[in-house]
């Protein structure tokens, strides 16, 4: 399966209401160790109610300069949240369906920004 199929797809709750779109997919390199690097496991999805196109990740980091752009982008991605893989019920043609009691988590990246 190609990741682009997942990105930008609508996200629905158990009742079929659209919550937003998949903004990004968060992977964590902590799976079974392979030859060089451990497996990269899909930890969860970042959902944005307004737009599917991410723009430079301002919504997830404490990047706030230059302020004019940061403010605009943060406004554009207001209300985005993170759901764990365990909260995904199933994939359908219409989009990603979450379990009834899915937990909405902050999408903020912890200090180790992907370096």
């Amino acid at each position: 399966m190609i990741l682009s199929d997942l990105l930008n797809r609508p996200v629905l709750d158990a009742e079929g209401r659209t919550l937003g779109k998949v903004l990004d997919a968060r992977f964590v390199i902590d799976g079974a160790p392979t030859q060089l690097l451990a497996e990269a496991r899909l930890a969860g999805l970042i959902v944005s109610p307004h737009t599917g196109t991410t723009f430079l990740g301002y919504e997830r980091t404490d990047e706030n300069s230059p302020w004019l752009i940061a403010a605009f982008l943060r406004w554009r991605h207001r209300g985005s949240f993170y759901v764990r893989w365990e909260d995904v019920e199933m994939l359908t043609e219409r989009g990603v369906v979450l379990v009834a009691a899915y937990a909405r988590r902050s999408a903020a990246l912890s200090t180790s920004i992907g370096i």
């Binding site: 196109t53 430079l56 990047e63 300069s65 230059p66 004019l68 752009i69 920004i113 992907g114 370096i115």
Partner: protein
């Protein structure tokens, strides 16, 4: 002593490398029609290119990523491909204008038709790119480009009425013979000629080519902050020469030969010989830079191996793209298209395309993952944001003005 020589060399090549056919033509066209009333735009453009080149040089040195790698990484494939399309086509337009510029300059030296010089110039450019080391290529064209200092000397030799000159420059107003729209159209053209995107592609890729590191930043900062303004002064001198000699006689510049006439009036045969050498070097150097930039943009977008520090066989597609671009340039000029007209369009389209590369560079210069703790300071960001607004305004206003004025008629 060697260090001092390095600094001096850096500054001199920055001055010599600053001017190209766009500056030569646009500055003298503006001087011959608007006098010194548009000189403030050159100053603005020089400050802008200093900020922009500085940032992209620092980003390249710290993160090792050149412009178009950043454009793609930051904007994502879809927006980057639109950006690539526009930037590449405009760079190709500038490349064609520069090859035409070399041919026109060689015509001034030899009276031989420029259409005959075009293939020769393009072949010479390819040969230099194919075999000559990056730093040698830069230093030789940069130093020879210094001959254009003769424009500044010419201004003094012409003993102008300094009061009116500076008066026009400081209190700019639209001359009676021109409309407001053409005034602002040429303001954008001049701004585009000072802040050409290819200079930034070349500057940041050059930083990667020469494997700059943090300690090279001071050298690059000196080169930019001393070299570019002096290059800008030469642009002003070109405009002044046209103002002093051509404007009073109602001569509107439409060819490169007219650009050389004030120098002939001021310093006679010797000055003319020097200015021709300068023109050939400046346009030849600019052709090298635009050709390399065409290779850089495509290779960096698709992630191919690129760079002059590598043998051609180690960067095959990079060199193939450049060969194709040179052939396209020859083909366009072979149709008899007037290089001066191409130049006038290329500088305006450069102004239109500027935000496409300025914005990503500004963003990455603030991104801790790329820059560590060397992100933009508060002052740099403030100035950079002011120029972001200026650049966006110029870019948006360019097309309507082009329509109203019929490309500056």
């Amino acid at each position: 002593m060697k260090q001092l020589l390095g600094v001096a060399l850096g500054i001199l090549t920055a001055i010599g490398g600053f001017l190209d056919i766009g500056d030569l033509v646009t500055s003298s066209v503006v001087g011959s029609r608007f006098g010194m009333t548009l000189v403030w735009v050159i100053v603005l453009g020089v400050i802008g290119i200093c900020v922009f080149a500085q940032m992209s040089g620092r980003v390249a040195a710290i993160s090792g990523r050149a412009t178009f790698e950043i454009v793609r990484e930051r904007l994502g494939a879809r927006m980057a491909v639109a950006n690539l399309g526009a930037s590449f086509l405009i760079n190709l337009l500038t490349l064609t204008a520069e090859i035409g510029g070399v041919a026109l300059a060689l015509q001034l030296a030899s009276s031989i038709e420029p259409t005959l010089w075009v293939p020769v110039a393009a072949f010479a450019v390819w040969l230099v790119i194919w075999r000559v080391k990056f730093s040698i290529m830069e230093n030789v064209t940069g130093l020879l480009g210094l001959c254009l200092i003769v424009f500044a000397v010419a201004v003094f030799l012409l003993q102008p009425d300094w009061a009116t000159l500076t008066g026009q420059a400081i209190a700019p107003s639209v001359p009676a013979t021109e409309t407001g729209a053409t005034y602002w159209y040429y303001a954008i053209a001049l701004f585009g000629s000072a802040m050409t995107p290819y200079e930034v592609f070349f500057f940041s890729s050059g930083a990667v080519e020469e494997k700059w590191t943090k300690k090279d930043l001071t050298q690059s900062r000196i080169n930019v902050l001393v070299g570019f303004p002096l290059g800008g002064i030469l642009s002003i001198a070109i405009a002044a020469c046209a103002t002093i000699v051509l404007l009073p006689q109602g001569i509107q510049v439409t060819s490169l030969s007219q650009v050389a006439l004030p120098v002939a009036e001021a310093g006679g045969k010797l000055a003319v010989a020097i200015v021709i050498v300068g023109m050939i070097a400046a346009t030849f150097g600019a052709t090298l830079e635009t050709t390399l930039s065409s290779g850089y943009t495509i290779a960096q977008f698709f992630g191919w191996s690129w760079g002059k520090f590598r043998r051609p066989v180690k960067a095959a597609r990079f060199h193939l793209v450049m060969i194709i671009c040179l052939l396209v340039g020859i083909a366009v000029l072979a149709t008899g298209a007037d290089p001066v007209m191409i130049t006038e369009y290329s500088v305006v389209f450069s102004a239109i395309a500027l935000p496409l590369t300025y914005l990503p560079i500004l963003l990455v210069a603030n991104d801790k993952q790329y820059m560590g703790d060397l992100v933009n300071g508060r002052a740099t960001n403030a100035v950079a944001l002011v120029f972001l607004v200026i650049i966006l305004v110029a870019s948006l206003a360019a097309i309507p003005l082009m329509i109203i004025t019929g490309a500056g008629a």
